[in-house]
Amino acid sequence: MLDESYYRKTDEIISRYVRDSRSLIPIMQDIQAEYRYLPPELLSYVAGQIGITEAKAYSVATFYENFSFEAKGKYVIKVCDGTACHVRHSTPVLNTLRNELGLSEKQHTTEDMMFTVETVSCLGACGLAPAIMVNEQVYPAMTPEKATALIEDLRRKG
């Protein structure tokens, strides 16, 4: 069970929309924007509030890669592995980030909840390949060295 404040916040988010099945995706997006992930308890809560089944809400939430049921770190690093970035050596960048942070293909978030590293299929910034994104900020023409420096930088900022 989540803290009461989560449900109050969710009520506030739901109140921005029509209480109907069509509001599910915008509500989920707002919750994820608030908490950087979609707490499963809140998905069930939203389903009840807008009158759809939990199974239906789960179906939608798992269909889109964008929704995550796991809490993410303070810095969410999206490494582009689209065609352009891939051929311009995004894999070494990804490996460096994972090594630096002790993460793997299975574990995406550091235990101190500071960093999450995930791959995305295209950031739409192919001209800047290989690109990565940290939260809303794009970093172009990445190299393993630049990645190491970036992590150090973010760690210093805390």
């Binding site: 089944t53 239906k56 269909f63």
Partner: protein
């Protein structure tokens, strides 16, 4: 309105919604996996694809009929197309046919055989997933799922419960409850309708046959059976009897030969249910409280109210279901050392229903500290056990049930059809038992396959308003209308499965739904017609029960003690 030419033959149509219905009406069989006439059209399996005179291919299930259409259903191109679909489905499908519970009844298996597929060209890259045995009623094996979505649609559209949904995407897509919870941790009411529409072995009955074989072998155990009304009209078909024929006598005889010590008829406790529920009803009407009275015979319905309408919980009759009454009585009877004969008693309840398996496991399914029903067998399992025991149904003589609980009334028999409980209550409350009175009750609107029926009956100077619903989505509509104040009823009968217990989740699924419902319902009313005793209160065993051995334990045996 118009005419379609199918394989060169002109076929007229009126208001059919899709081309497939017209094709089937013309007596032509086109295979389908995801099409169920009573559900919304999904159009996923593409097996019903047909070709028109211009070479255009389309799925017949989702094509609106147009006057003058010229279609072909079995061209070489379509045969190849269907074969490829089946091969692709098999590519990601579990291949353990011999140990599958759906063996011989599986649509996918039948289609593969028909199309002569004896090797599968593609490797199976789907990782093995664990099957879910957590529900006492239904086993879900994702490895056998072809994603036709029938279970999802029946659970949502017909039952209004919505436990299952598609999860994930692409090659990871699967049918699952929310958050991939085990079935036992969901709002599943165990009605088993998902298993009825599943074309493969992905959803099957959680069977308990081995426990029964084991008990039958133990010389120190008395194995007693009770048989629900709807079972008798669904067994014969599997052994070559006409569809819907009442095979009760043969079932009793076969059970005796298998080693059951005593065989009883659940109609006996259906009669007790009528006695108790009528009394409770008149009591509540007199006091004007806890109305409408909701029937309690169907455990899926009871679970549905507990899950989704807790405010109506106190309206549910405190009567146990006929299954639970009978098991409690049997256990109590043999608890007496004079009756026990040094043996322990094992109660097997033979039901058309998967939810009864769940009911038997409920905490309130115990009396005097002992579990009432040991094992629930569905009709489907019973047929399998008859087959395994080499029962020759054709030459099997008929035998009567055993005493002292072997008599039931016609009112008890019709419990198996929607409206039956209400009709039996009306028989009980109406004076006289002449054919004209009984006919008038039958014609009052209680019979018929409509999902929601309303009847008003004058009784003691008041108009008694009754509602009969089957299918939980219909039941939800009824409860919502009561909640909003739009409707007012004194009595509501609900059976979770559309059509009542004859269409239960544990029944055989051969043939079409409409045909099954029609023949079995007709069979039950015919069985009622043959009974000498029509009214529950005229069952001579009622007096024996209330004034004899069980005199002081009536309430403890027949009622649940609600908090």
């Amino acid at each position: 309105m118009g005419t379609i030419t199918i394989n060169g033959k002109k076929v007229e149509f009126t208001n059919e919604k899709n081309v497939l219905t017209i094709i089937r009406k013309a007596g032509i069989e086109v295979p389908t996996l995801c099409y169920q006439p009573e559900l919304s059209v999904f159009g996923a399996c593409r097996l019903c694809t047909v070709e028109d005179d211009r070479g255009r291919c389309f799925a017949a299930c989702s094509e609106e009929p147009r006057d003058g259409m010229v279609i072909f259903t079995h061209t070489e191109r379509l045969r190849k197309h269907r074969k490829l679909i089946i091969e692709l489905l098999l590519a990601a499908h579990c291949r353990d046919c011999t140990t599958c519970d759906k063996h011989g009844k599986c649509t996918l298996q039948r289609l593969a055989y028909q199309h002569g597929i004896n090797t599968i060209r593609f490797d199976n890259h789907r990782a093995d997933m664990p099957a879910d045995f957590s529900s006492p009623a239904i086993v879900r094996d994702p490895n056998k799922c072809i994603l036709c979505g029938n279970c999802i649609r029946v659970c949502n559209e017909i039952q209004g419960v919505g436990v299952l949904g598609f999860a994930h995407r692409g090659t990871d897509a699967m049918v699952s409850p929310a958050f991939e919870r085990p079935m036992s941790a969901t709002n599943c009411v165990a009605c088993g309708q998902c298993r009825v529409v599943c074309p493969t072995g992905a959803l099957t009955i959680h069977h308990n046959m081995s426990e029964v074989w084991h008990a039958l072998l133990d010389p120190n155990t008395r194995v007693v059976a009770q048989i629900a009304p709807a079972v008798r009209v669904a067994v014969g078909e599997a052994f070559g009897l006409p569809k819907g024929e009442n095979a009760m006598g043969k079932i009793v005889a076969a059970l005796h030969r298998m080693g059951f010590d005593e065989v009883f008829d659940t109609t006996y406790t259906a009669d007790l249910t009528i006695m108790e529920e009528s009394k409770e009803f008149l009591d509540r009407v007199g006091k004007g409280e806890k109305l409408p009275l909701l029937t309690s015979c169907c455990p899926a319905w009871v679970k549905f109210v507990e899950n989704e309408y807790p405010e109506f919980k106190q309206n549910i009759s405190t009567c146990r279901s006929p299954q639970q009454m009978f098991s409690a009585i049997l256990k109590e009877y043999y608890r007496d050392p004079a009756h026990a004969d040094g043996k322990k008693t094992f109660v097997v309840s033979i039901m058309p229903c998967t939810a009864k398996k769940m009911e038997a496991e409920r905490p309130d399914a115990h009396t005097f500290g002992e579990k009432d029903t040991d094992i629930v067998l569905t009709t489907t399992e019973l047929i399998r056990m008859f087959d395994a025991h080499g029962v020759n149904f054709e030459t099997m003589p008929s035998e009567a049930c055993d005493m002292p609980f072997g008599i039931g009334s016609g009112g008890g028999v019709i419990f198996g059809a929607t409206g039956g409980v209400t009709e039996a209550v009306l028989r009980r409350l109406t004076e006289g038992h002449d054919p004209a009175t009984l006919k008038a009750i039958a014609a009052s609107g209680v019979r018929g396959d409509q999902g929601i029926k309303e009847i008003t009956i004058p009784y003691n100077g008041m108009d008694v308003k009754i509602c009969v619903a089957s299918g939980l989505a219909n039941a939800r509509k009824v409860l919502e209308s009561v909640k909003s104040g739009e409707k007012e009823y004194h009595f509501i009968e609900v059976m979770a499965c559309p059509g009542g217990c004859v269409m239960g989740g544990g029944q055989p699924t051969d043939g079409t739904r409409v045909q099954r419902a029609k023949t079995r319902t007709r069979g039950l009313y015919a069985a009622d017609g043959e009974m000498v005793i029509k009214k529950s209160n005229e069952n001579p065993l009622m007096d024996v029960f209330y004034n004899g051995y069980f005199k002081d334990k009536v309430h403890a045996l027949l009622h649940n003690h609600q908090d």
